[in-house]
């Protein structure tokens, strides 16, 4: 099979993984090196596919042969998709060639399980080793690790990679047992915990070393010690499939909160269960619930940057706007939904409210809030200032008051939700 055909099969096999982030690496470049590559903190999206997803890394599987039979997966052993396998060197050359053309930031490598978890992990790590050691490649590497692989293989992966990830796949252990019989949620959890420890230790040791480099005696020189090796400086991430089982949004966000809190994950990705070319009989297909996926991402942001806790974002009981119990509303964003359900907390005074309250105002982003805080140090904020901020005024005004503005009775209006909800769009037939 030629390289074009392999690439087609093994890119197809990889496209259901939502993650493509290339951020969080330690800054480095190819000055003084033998090879090429750099990372400058912020990832770069080099292209966008018509599905709106960013293409930042060459995202491929080393092979889509797999012994596992995860029902939601196109590469499961019982699927009839065409199979292929790259050699280590083919992946290395593809990565270097695309990188040289400035099409990618680096490589995101994953694999089906062949022979054994250890054998598979070894192959994946070998690609990273060749890139780093033989080609002095300094671009981004994200490796998908296999939870059942030996801990020392994980450690080697972490030394070469900027980011590691293990897919939790489904939000609950029961769901995983039902749909992915060979996967063990306890093993996934153990692996994440182990990686979190390594990432934390490496980070702490490097910090300590940086602090020790300060010379206290003017005449003395710092002793050069071998620097502490990096371990996945971009942290770890994971992915959850949304809509393949009946788990509700409240449970999904609770799982995410645990992953962020306990395992210090950098990102949790949500992936709407998407039709695959060869479906399992037990898992009928439908159009992917992309709006729900979008609302989960918004809720995730509220947890990470806006000070919301996971259990206040989703109403435990039937919402006023007719949203189902335990589910995020689809017609309004979760922040607006929360504000409408908690009108007693508003209006928020722009001139006196603390940062955490300003962050709860619908239509205010983190940047807007920081700007308001800086501006009110020099003067009192007025209605006209809001107009200059490029915020959605219609959404903001009912919830705030300024030196010369009060929302009056807008907040009590029974139809406020209706005013702020976009009118239903005539669904097109296609």
């Amino acid at each position: 099979m030629n390289l074009q055909s392999k690439l087609a099969i093994l890119a197809d096999a990889a496209k259901y993984d939502a993650s493509c982030a290339s951020s969080g690496a330690a800054p480095r470049n190819s000055v003084g090196g033998r090879g090429m590559g750099s990372t400058e903190g912020m990832g770069i999206c080099h292209s966008y596919a018509p599905d709106g997803r960013c293409i930042s890394l060459l995202k491929i599987l080393l092979t889509n042969f797999c012994q596992y039979d995860c029902l939601y997966c196109v590469n499961r052993v019982t699927s009839n998709v065409p199979r292929a396998r790259f050699t280590v060197d083919e992946v290395v050359q593809l990565t270097l060639d695309f990188y040289r053309r400035n099409c990618i930031e680096g490589l995101f490598l994953s694999s089906g399980i062949i022979q054994s978890p250890d054998y598979t992990m070894e192959q994946v790590v070998e690609v990273a080793r060749v890139l780093r050691e033989e080609h002095d490649f300094r671009g981004y590497i994200h490796l998908k690790t296999i939870p059942d692989a030996a801990p020392e293989l994980m450690e080697r992966a972490g030394r070469y990679a900027d980011r590691l990830s293990i897919n939790i796949e489904l939000p609950t252990a029961e769901g995983l047992t039902a749909l992915a019989p060979e996967k063990d949620s306890a093993a996934i959890d153990r692996s994440m915990a182990r990686m979190a420890v390594h990432i934390g230790e490496s980070r702490a040791a490097r910090k300590e070393q940086a602090a020790q480099a300060i010379v206290s005696m003017p005449q003395s020189r710092t002793t050069r010690r071998a620097s502490v090796p990096h371990f996945a400086p971009g942290g770890q991430s994971t992915q959850m499939i949304v809509g393949a089982d009946a788990t509700n949004d409240r449970t999904i966000l609770a799982t995410s909160a645990r992953l962020y809190g306990v395992h210090r994950l950098r990102r949790v990705y949500y992936s709407a269960f998407s039709p695959i070319p060869d479906a399992a009989r037990a898992l009928p297909l439908a159009a992917p619930p992309t709006v729900r996926e979008h609302r989960l991402y918004q809720a995730d942001w509220l947890m990470r940057f806006y000070g919301f806790t996971h259990d206040e974002i989703v109403p435990p009981s039937q919402g006023k706007s007719g949203s189902q119990a335990g589910m995020l509303a689809l017609d309004v964003d979760p922040k607006l939904a929360w504000a409408l359900a908690h009108r007693e907390r508003f209006p928020v005074n722009l001139n006196t409210a603390p940062r955490e309250l300003l962050l709860r105002v619908p239509g205010f982003g983190v940047q807007t809030v920081d700007r308001l805080l800086a501006a009110r140090r020099v003067r009192r904020l007025r209605h006209a200032d809001l107009a200059r901020l490029h915020v959605p005024l219609k959404k903001v005004l009912p919830f705030v008051e300024a030196a010369d503005y009060r929302p009056g009775r807008a907040l009590d209006a029974a139809d406020l939700a209706a005013q702020l909800t976009p009118p239903p769009v005539q669904r097109s037939l296609f």
Binding site: N2, L3, Q4, L7, A8, I9, A11, D12, A14, K15, N29, S30, V31, G32, R34, G35, S38, E40, I44, C45, H46, S47, Y48, A49, P50, D51, G52, R53, C54, I55, L58, F65, Q67, V77, T78, R85, T87, E90, D97, F98, R100, R101, N102, I114, Q115, A272, S274, P275, I276, D278, A279, A280, A286, A287, T290, A374, V378, R388, L389, F430
Partner: protein, 291 residues
Amino acid sequence: MQRHTVTLDHPTDWPGFRQAARALVQANVPPQAVDWRCQADAASDLFAPEPHSHNVLPPPSPDAPALRVPPDFVHLCEQLILHRDPARFPLMYRLLWRMAQGGNEAEAARHDPLDADRMLAHHMVRAVARDKHKMHAFVRFRPVTQPDGETLHMAWFEPDHYITEANAGFFIRRFTQMRWAILTPDASVRWDGQQLHTGPGAQRSDAPPPDAGEALWLTYYRHIFNPARLKLGMMKKEMPTRYWHNLPEAALITELAQTAHERSAQMVAAEPTTPRKMIAPLKRPIPVEPE
């Protein structure tokens, strides 16, 4: 009120602007009495006085204000001058002049993030930053064999602003051991492995056509797309159509979008197939064919 005209050597002549602006502020010349131009504009303006390479700048007035500006402001101007809008010069000067006035005016120009001039400046700097970022993302190199047998990687790019030289550092750091050139309508930069050479603007025809290796990238683009999730609006938001004619993969977008619905509907409608016979867990490695 005497009018002053300052002619800068080129669109991003920061030292020239800085020197002139400092002299004008110290001579108490208000913003509305200064006209800013570049050599290129001066040459095309029929009614302009003869361009002179040395601007006649007024002497400082005896009560000239001490001119101290925050370092942030200098960084802001270094980015702002890369913007293509001719209004950038009067805007920079107006901010500087206000900072020198003292009182509320200076306070607002220095510290109020909602001040109209400051907001406009930040807005323009954000546009420059976005343009720089898109250049990092969308420059596409194509290999060309040079007469000496070395490979030169060449790219054609059309930035919105005057960012080409200011942005070369990123490519130097990333592709230090490579020889590369980026051609744009305003300027071109070439890295020989040791040094950066800057040159005049170029034309699209000066850049090389697609090569065979590009086909692999197009294959990847075609297959990483998930037809069940067509979201053209999202894609255009991040990859505006004005960049498409220089992106090889953009030629595939129309076809991928048109066939997406049909492909995804077929997947949903397809009867589940009979599972392949379960293979026993493998003992032997799958042979990899020699290429």
